[in-house]
């Protein structure tokens, strides 16, 4: 959704670049620094979600004697006003946050592929235009308020339901980008050849068009992940959804309700905020990397300042360095 305007231009301009690697060979490019850092960070968070609840030193809901204690050896990230261990809350809460993000992201991506690619391929026909109009409507509806109203009618909705609701309202942006990409792809020779041979529509979409759009699908998946994290955390922060299930949003909800910052308990508030931002940042970095892969002109890493300056100022054509030579 919102976070993803960065991929819009790429998808509009660089179809030749997208199709080339898929056709020429299976050689994967070397990972850029951004992707590496992003993947490592994301890996740490996923690991945290898997083993976090097991290694958490305390029961996050258990009330302890140390009230509002600053970080110490016993409580590495201090305690809340009920003596609950913030580190344990953070570790246990990581699972819900990450599961919601991935479930919502995956579902929304499936929906955006169905709507975007199909409406792009069938553009001009009644079915195609109908699908396109549907995604335009969902795109224009304000996401967060709609989510708030829907969840408010589902009191104590579990994280799974919230994830499904996020996916149901959040797929439209990806659909729009995929539609634009498909529109440019559908008249390429290999698609026309498949059509001439008499392949079925769903087969052309799945096996001819989609493989050439993998990078765009991946970029839209990543940005849906960030959106889902922000929306889920925001919802729980407002006190919607299930407020018995630990997540980073719930830590912030209690911190806000008990005025953590006013009493100076920064350790209650900062870790969950920082983790949310870092998780989003790691995904964003991978997204940047993918953008640069789709549209090599965007690449800046690895080139010296002087080279870049020469590149953009004195030559109209931006040289694209082969992978391996630089970066």
């Amino acid at each position: 959704m919102a976070l993803s305007s960065s991929t819009t231009p790429a998808s509009q301009n660089t179809l030749t670049v997208i199709t080339a690697p898929a056709i020429q060979g299976r050689r994967l490019p070397r990972l850029s620094l951004k992707i590496t850092i992003g993947l490592v960070l994301l890996g740490i968070f996923v690991l945290m979600a898997i083993i976090g609840p097991i290694v958490a030193p305390y029961d996050p809901s258990a009330i302890g004697p140390d009230v509002l204690a600053a970080p110490s050896a016993a409580h590495l990230l201090g305690t809340t006003n009920n003596g609950q261990d913030v580190l344990s809350e953070l570790l246990v809460g990581s699972r819900a946050t990450i599961v919601v993000a991935f479930v919502a992201g995956a579902l929304a991506t499936v929906l955006s592929v169905i709507f975007g690619v199909t409406s792009g391929y069938l553009a001009g026909s009644a079915r195609g235009e109908l699908l396109n109009m549907l995604s335009n409507i969902v795109l224009v509806l304000p996401l967060f308020p709609l989510l708030v109203v829907l969840t408010a009618f589902l009191p104590n909705a579990s994280a799974w339901i919230v994830a499904v609701v996020i996916a149901l309202v959040g797929w439209a942006w990806g659909a729009r980008v995929l539609r634009a990409t498909t529109l440019a792809l559908r008249n390429q020779d290999f698609v026309q050849a498949a059509r001439a041979v008499g392949e079925r529509t769903w087969r052309i979409i799945l096996f001819e068009i989609l493989p050439n759009e993998i990078a765009v699908v991946a970029a839209s998946f990543l940005f849906t992940l960030i959106a889902a994290i922000i929306l889920y955390t925001g919802l729980i922060f407002l006190g919607l959804g299930n407020t018995n299930e630990w997540s980073w949003g719930l830590i912030l909800y209690w911190a806000q309700n008990e005025e953590a910052l006013t009493v100076g308990a920064w350790w209650w508030f900062i870790p969950a905020s920082a983790c949310t931002a870092l998780l989003g940042c790691s995904i964003g970095l991978i997204g940047f990397g993918i953008d640069e892969f789709i549209n090599p002109r965007l690449r800046a890493a690895g080139l010296s300042r002087k080279e870049l300056r020469t590149m953009s100022m004195n030559q109209g054509l931006t040289p694209v360095y082969r992978d391996g030579a630089r970066s």
Binding site: L3, S5, S6, P142, V148
Partner: protein
């Protein structure tokens, strides 16, 4: 003008969809929100026949008429501006609660959106123009700001700039004792109170503009007309602004709807964090009190405002892009 006509058509259909969703949500959901609303209203005081009628229409309470007839009645009520009675602000009508809150949000979010767009686009242009400059190396940090929960930044600002340093007021839209009106003193007070919430929205929503504009500028710089402009010996500034930026900015307008969604999400949460007397705060109050009529009306109003904002962006797009004007 077909471009604008098509867009207006889309927005009308969207408005209809939002209103219809609003009609169906309370009827589709498990549980019985109508009962909750009715008992809450009765607990507050006498339910007048007019209120009861609005409730019946909005939630399908105790009604034997068909769904279609209910839908018709719902539209009639809507056109009369009768959105029901708020539980939170009993016995004020939902319409007047919203009328009080809306100007605050429109001013705050409107100014914040424009500032965020202008600042973000400018930074993005410069970052794309000066490849390899320090601005460009800072790009990844914008993701951090963007992914940071809006209210976190808001609450940290409240604590340090508001409470610790006492530079800015930490809640409300104006000082206590101010008389609301269009005079210099009141507007100054309102602007002073809007500074921190506005800053939060601008900082968190700016990143989308920066990244989009930077990527488009980089892509545009590879075009032949930019090369020709440089070859003609035009000044760098002129090439940057009237050749590169002018073309690179177009996708920013067509993805305006996407960035606006970010601003709206941010502003709801930010208004809550700052207890700002706008629509977002009202939405929170409604959620907190299970005030379904108010919640739904707020959703409708936000949707309609978003549609109008998008329409304005489309007008700007038509002004900037001759192709959209000629397309017939």
């Amino acid at each position: 003008m077909t471009f604008l006509a098509r867009r207006i058509g889309l927005y009308l259909v969207t408005a209809w969809a939002a209103i219809t969703i609003n009609f169906f949500i309370p009827r589709m959901m498990p549980g019985n929100p109508a009962e909750i609303v009715f008992s809450r209203l009765s607990a507050n005081g006498i339910v007048t026949p007019a209120m009861y009628k609005a409730l019946v229409v909005a939630f399908g309470l105790n009604t034997h008429s068909s769904l279609l007839a209910q839908y018709g009645q719902y539209w009639v009520q809507l056109f009369h501006g009768n959105l029901g009675t708020s539980i939170t602000y009993y016995p004020t009508s939902v319409a007047s609660v919203i009328a009080t809150a809306l100007p605050w949000t429109l001013a705050l979010v409107g100014v914040a959106t424009i500032l965020s767009f202008v600042i973000g686009t400018t930074i993005g242009t410069v970052a794309g123009w000066r490849r390899g400059g320090w601005l460009e190396t800072l790009l990844p940090t914008t993701t951090f700001l963007q992914a940071m929960p809006y209210f976190c930044l808001g609450l940290v600002l409240v604590e340090y700039l508001g409470v610790k340093l006492n530079w800015f007021p930490v809640n409300g839209g104006y000082a206590q004792g101010d008389v609301i009106g269009f005079n210099g003193a009141f507007l100054a007070s309102a602007a002073y109170h809007a500074f921190l919430p506005g800053l939060t929205i601008v900082v968190t929503s700016m990143a989308a503009w920066i990244v989009g504009m930077r990527n488009m500028t980089v892509t545009t710089l590879g075009q032949d007309y930019v090369l020709v402009a440089q070859a003609k010996g035009l000044s760098r500034r002129r090439v940057m602004i009237t050749y590169a930026a002018r073309n690179a900015i177009l996708p920013s307008f067509s993805s305006f709807v996407v960035a606006l969604s970010l601003v709206v999400t941010g502003s709801v949460l930010v208004e809550y964090a700052f207890s700002y007397p706008g629509i977002g705060y009202v939405l929170f109050q409604a959620v907190d009190n299970e005030d379904y009529p108010l919640m739904q009306a707020v959703f409708l109003i936000i949707t309609l405002s978003v549609l109008v904002a998008n329409l304005l962006a489309d007008f700007a797009y038509v002004l900037l892009d001759p192709r959209a004007r000629q397309e017939a």
